[in-house]
Symmetry: C2
Subunit: 125 residues, 2 copies
DNA sequence: TTCTTAATGATAATCTGTTATCATTAAGCA
DNA sequence: TGCTTAATGATAACAGATTATCATTAAGAA
């Protein structure tokens, strides 16, 4: 039977507390603060499991390896700070949402989109 | 001294003729049609060179390895067809451009953005 | 045309991210 | 508490993309 482990709790808690999507590596580094001999394989194993169970979702961003974030049902975008290199969630009315479901003049039918901003975050500006 | 080779011409011509950004692998496959024993290392070498000289630019898209396209000075977006998996350029007024240079309420200063559409292309719809 | 050497093609090596292996640990039912 | 076995931690193995190596080829000045 499936077991509820301390490690999985920590992994999910770390993701839930993050203010942006994390790579497996970043997650491992942060989660180790709670469980100092946490194995990297355990992080990958649990991420796969959590994604299957839909408690966690993958995020694919330009020029970045796969990131993970705790389940979020809304629509939001990401902000990459060119100085500190951190990626955080950003709250802003989506200026593109109106296009979803639309067929462009060229004949392409849009089902969804991915929008990412680059610039300077609050701390770095 | 730097030499103008047949291989580099073919690589650049292939990129210029493409209707979307290509991965090094795709570029290699296509360019080999013109030069059937073109080496993959040559493709990588020339891509690096062409990027340095700014005749070619890299494009980083979500969940995709680095792609390359011939220099283009405007602003455009990409369309990923969920059926045929091809990525093509798309012409559309940018609904996000107005945000560039803007500082959001949260304090994030936007310098640029990356917008990508997912859906069905003309051939697949 | 000849000659120098930049560039090439083939392939081995490297790097990064992820998965498999396996002995050991611990979740949680009896 | 004891027992079964799912899950873990350490590490080797793997996969894909990119770079280095090196003998060979060919660009282009003389």
């Amino acid at each position: 039977m499936k077991r509820r482990t301390k490690q999985r709790e920590i992994i999910l808690a770390t993701l839930s507390g993050a203010n942006g999507p994390l790579t497996a590596e970043e997650l491992w580094q942060q989660a180790r603060a709670q469980s100092n001999n946490l194995g990297k394989a355990t992080v990958y194993r649990n991420l796969r499991l959590l994604v299957q169970e839909e408690d966690v979702q993958e995020v694919h961003l330009p020029n970045e390896s796969t990131r993970f974030e705790a389940k979020f049902t809304g629509h939001r975008h990401y902000f990459y700070c060119e100085k500190c290199k951190n990626i955080s969630f950003i709250q802003a009315t989506c200026p593109v949402a109106a296009l979803d479901g639309v067929t462009l003049p060229s004949g392409y039918k849009i089902r969804s989109h991915s929008l990412m901003f680059y610039g300077l975050c609050v701390e770095c500006d």
